[in-house]
Symmetry: none
Subunit: 415 residues, 2 copies
């Protein structure tokens, strides 16, 4: 089995200015291919240290994937040092230069002279074209050691890895690893784990619980010679988990609950409208993150101020005064008002105190009311996160609103 | 100056199952103390590979900080391998054992036998008590090399580092490093770099360009004996950059353009309203990401469907038909309609084709019109990203709308 090592290049990583999401992405993708990542290293934009790391890496790994340091400025030297290490000369690669020029022309600007450096490439290499930036990537080999160079920005690295590096690396992959993520909502990681304790000991497939952003998931991973065999190992386990976790599961291999909700709305030919106070656009943003959401989502109202809740959505001024903006009656009326204005089939509404500070009342940070209305009735859920974390509270509020829509469509809504 | 190296231990990191936020946190904190992190490495829960990495690290660094692998299970072996490397014996540390027992008692449970392993500690070490979990951390020294062990979970590592490791590391900190980020909008990294080429050679402070999510920034970093001296080194450089980049700069040390916009609106006692088609709530979400946004933001309209653009914002049906939803007149009318409905001082509106697929017209993916209206007039900017990346297009559209608000307030708006 081929061993691989990741080297992230960039002083900004050593200073902690940016988070190394590339290393996680690459490790996950390589694991899927059955290529073992044994080391991840980060080094600054420094010739000597990079060269010394390349020497160590070449001694212990078959494949070295470097990311970052392919930019146009003089401190970008990953390509130069890698070529020095392999004793390869660089020369101008005209098609790459043309592609860089086209990239700027398409944006209505002209290539700066310094970008020409990015088209200087070693001889005898496999070029990975960059469709999302200027720096091409590449792969080269010497004495059985393969080096791949990828640009650092995740928007450039990810597609290039999937489109170019994966086909290149297929030669090292003799096992297939398949993972499926069973995504749940409304149950904690511990409670979920207790429902499947015995399954967590399984060896192939393995079953592992994870928690993230107020959700829990189970990852089922099988390894086999072929994809089909791996899928056959996963299948009965996924069925068993389905029986145990039931309606907590919103989908397998969905990225997020909004994906499940958009899918359900489409299947049922339904439209949803949003009325948001503290989440202020996050629900509508998340719904429309899903391509094709326009068939299920037509409009949303961000009613942050009390006066606007009354003026636009028709929330009673007396109720706003008596119960406060963060209250059950206000959530109900926001949902009803949005439903009426839009002509959608269902409306979700959120009003809450996201924090970090409380509003002028004595209500606690993290309190929120989440409503769902159809033309006949309205359901409200009270949520208390007991956290002062604004981002977390807003995210979890939005997720709960989306989950209410899911449960409504599945006819399991309560409240 | 002391050099430091981070070793993250954990097979889950090599598999890409979790993101290494510890490395970023530690690097940032160490940089503040003037301790240089020259390498970050990640290795699995494997004795031989960890031992070999420790040998390499001890040769090139004064301080080695290991995180992870202090758990109670047999695969957690960071402490064991570190002691083996230093030739130190471990013995039961009663106060730590009591603390672990107390930790479980406080949660209403009883310590499992395996957790006793976490109270086995080397002799002659400085113990870092863990107030947020069971594994104590520690520091030990041999022949001038210092090893610090910290637990992996961020909610345990972060407070332990700040409370225990920072005081321990003070002995190595004789310099202070200060960084300032000059954030710009509307200029690319290359074009920006050309305006400051000569400054990029500066040694103290250093000046380095970065690009992220459609923005470019310059980082100015100075090192000195005291914070004040470091600030004095940065000051003239920041002034010079200010002169060169002028109104491209939206702020120094802001995290994002919405922070600058909310600040400017507050200073000028102004309110903003949003009318969003393709961004569908992202602008209002980003404005309200900033705590205290309620004084400048009261409402937003997410008008995804054409019928809603007409019904809610009063966009002309004839114009929608003749020019299409993604057009200058529609953007203008969306902004005007939202301004009128809200009573805000300015309105921003976005209509565009975010992709990945085009709409039913022949307009290209990535085309958008971004409008800003006040009570007297309206400005429109046409944007073409030439990318099919939905997330990128939406983010950059939202940023451009926010930037138009910034330029309006600064009286430099064009279009």
């Amino acid at each position: 089995m081929a061993t691989c090592e990741l080297i992230s290049v960039g002083t900004e990583l050593l200073l902690g200015d940016i988070l190394n999401t590339d290393a996680q992405f690459l490790s996950k993708e390589l694991a899927k291919m059955g290529i073992s990542v044994m080391h991840q290293c980060t080094v600054g934009d420094n010739r000597d240290r990079l060269l010394s790391l390349l020497k160590e890496a070449a001694e212990r790994s078959d494949i070295i994937i470097l990311s970052g340091g392919l930019g146009p400025t003089p401190d970008d030297l990953t390509k130069e040092v890698s070529c020095e290490f392999f004793g390869k000369e660089m020369k101008l690669h005209e098609p790459s230069l043309d592609k860089i020029k086209e990239y700027f022309a398409a944006k209505g600007s002209v290539m700066a002279e310094i970008n020409a450096k990015q088209a200087m490439l070693p001889e005898d290499c496999v070029i990975f074209p960059n469709n999302n930036g200027t720096a091409p990537g590449l792969a080269m080999e010497k004495d059985g050691t393969h080096i791949l160079l990828l640009p650092g920005p995740p928007r450039e690295l990810k597609p290039m890895f999937l489109e170019c590096a994966v086909p290149y690396l297929k030669q090292f992959s003799d096992k297939t690893i398949i993972s499926h993520n069973v995504r749940t909502f409304g149950i904690g990681e511990s409670a979920m784990s207790e429902l499947v304790t015995d399954l967590l000991d399984s060896q192939n497939p393995t079953v592992a619980p994870y928690a993230k952003d107020g959700e829990a998931l189970l990852r089922v991973t099988a390894m086999a010679e072929t994809e089909e065999e791996a899928e056959n190992l996963c299948k009965p386990m996924l069925d068993e988990i389905g029986k145990r976790l039931g309606d907590y599961i919103y989908g397998i291999d969905y990225n997020c609950i909004e994906e499940a909700v958009v899918e359900l709305l489409k299947e049922n030919n339904m439209k949803i409208v949003t009325a948001e106070s503290c989440t202020a656009g996050m629900i509508s943003k998340r719904i429309t993150d899903i391509p094709g959401a326009s068939s299920v989502f037509e409009c949303g109202f961000v009613t942050y101020a009390n006066s606007i809740k009354h003026k636009i959505l028709g929330v009673s001024e007396a109720d706003l005064k008596e119960y406060g903006a963060v209250s059950k009656p206000v959530a109900e009326q926001m949902a009803k008002g949005a439903l009426k204005l839009s002509g959608a089939d269902i409306a979700v509404a959120v009003t809450g105190i996201a924090g970090p500070d409380s509003d002028s009342t004595e209500k606690p940070v993290g309190l929120s009311y989440i409503a769902l209305a159809d033309k006949d009735r309205v359901w409200v859920k009270e949520l208390r996160t007991n956290r002062r974390d604004r981002d977390y509270n807003r995210y979890v509020n939005a997720s709960n609103a989306l989950n209410m829509a899911r449960m409504y469509i599945n006819k399991t809504i309560q409240g």
